[in-house]
Symmetry: C2
Subunit: 224 residues, 2 copies
């Protein structure tokens, strides 16, 4: 089955990493893994744009089925391979509701992170404004505090219930990126505990972004 | 069951509207519907913040279960009340994959819409930049073209398969907001066809934002 799957991805992108973690967890090793380059603008090539018309990674195909949104890829894999590998959706209805809530909140964490960490990359120099960046940093600080608070409940190992779920697949890559960019483990001890607990999970360790192993992160979030 | 549910909402917010459409479709009339005011900053009151710590609408509670993210609310209702009302998840695996893909793409449409339509509301005057707004408009134009293209396939009535699904629950409110803000029906005929087909659907007509009935939209998107 995995042989009929192709994933186009770029190193370090949380949405790509989510898909790769889900593929590992569902025991779908052996898929066609196409690591391409953001720098070379591979995501704008016809090969990728045919699958993902926005010209973005990830781009994912399973036979005739195309799913590119990282949430949709993870949900698709869990739905299609229910009885295989890790069950990523909890049985308990309350945990399941919590999983959905945290997954989608993950979009907010990601967007507030991007507004700070990629500000200089996304906003042309002539349009940059110090006051905007300051506001973005304040918003990210409030957001990160919220997640640190969430993890004070329970054992702090997982975001929803007592097992690894889609919420962790979605949110962990963003948390890892935060720490790579200099987020303080001292200021956010619960989030750091979560990060340190999951970073050695086999599906995560195996799919760790190759560029992250080669280069250090930039300490951009020291003041968050 | 519906009596144990409370929805705090603001008029005209697509995330709130999604929850209301899903509640109607699942036959959950009779829930506690708390219409509050964005202008009065009701979303920042303790009553709402206890449920939704970001102080945002929607805020939703079903007994002890709290779900605030609009996607999560809709998925929770479909999951919990599977056999009741409209089945919002297609049986066919290909349609289901497409539904997930379009749902999550709905976030991109929403965010590009917000970047234009709420630019003056979200960005303080001193930080505004004409070049940014121009870029945002170009991004929204490309995005809207993409959706018009999606609807050229099939009968153009629904986003995934031959029935009304979660993809429509999520995306329709954004499409309706686009047209309210002056998007051209001539330039985007397929999107307009979709809009006009669904706007009289009972769940949608019944939950149409009350403020939209009272006041006209602003023609902000004429040049999109």
């Amino acid at each position: 089955m995995a042989k009929e799957m192709t994933l186009y991805w770029g190193s370090g992108s949380p949405p790509c990493w989510r898909a790769m973690i889900a593929l590992e967890e569902k025991g779908l090793q052996g898929y066609n893994s196409k690591l391409l380059s953001f720098e070379k603008k591979d995501h704008k090539t016809p090969e990728v744009v045919t699958i993902n018309p926005r010209g973005q990674f990830p781009a994912f195909k399973h036979g005739k089925i195309i799913v590119n949104e990282s949430f949709a890829i993870c949900e698709y894999l869990e739905d299609t391979f229910k009885g295989q590998g890790t069950t990523l959706v909890p049985q308990d209805p309350m945990d399941r509701a919590m999983m959905r809530q945290r997954m989608h909140e993950g979009n907010t964490l990601m967007s507030k992170f991007v507004d700070v960490a990629f500000y200089f990359w996304r906003i042309p120099e002539a349009e940059r404004n110090e006051a905007t960046l300051k506001r973005n940093k304040e918003a990210l600080t409030a957001e990160v505090k919220l997640w640190d608070g969430y993890l004070q409940k329970g054992n702090g190992h997982y975001l929803a219930g007592k097992t690894f779920t889609l919420a962790d697949v979605i949110v962990f890559p963003v948390v890892a990126f935060l720490f790579r960019m200099g987020l303080s483990e001292e200021k956010y001890p619960k989030l750091a505990g979560y990060y340190n607990h999951l970073k050695t999970r086999p599906s995560i360790e195996k799919t760790w972004p190759p560029t992250w192993k080669e280069t250090p992160g930039q300490p951009m979030l020291n003041d968050i």
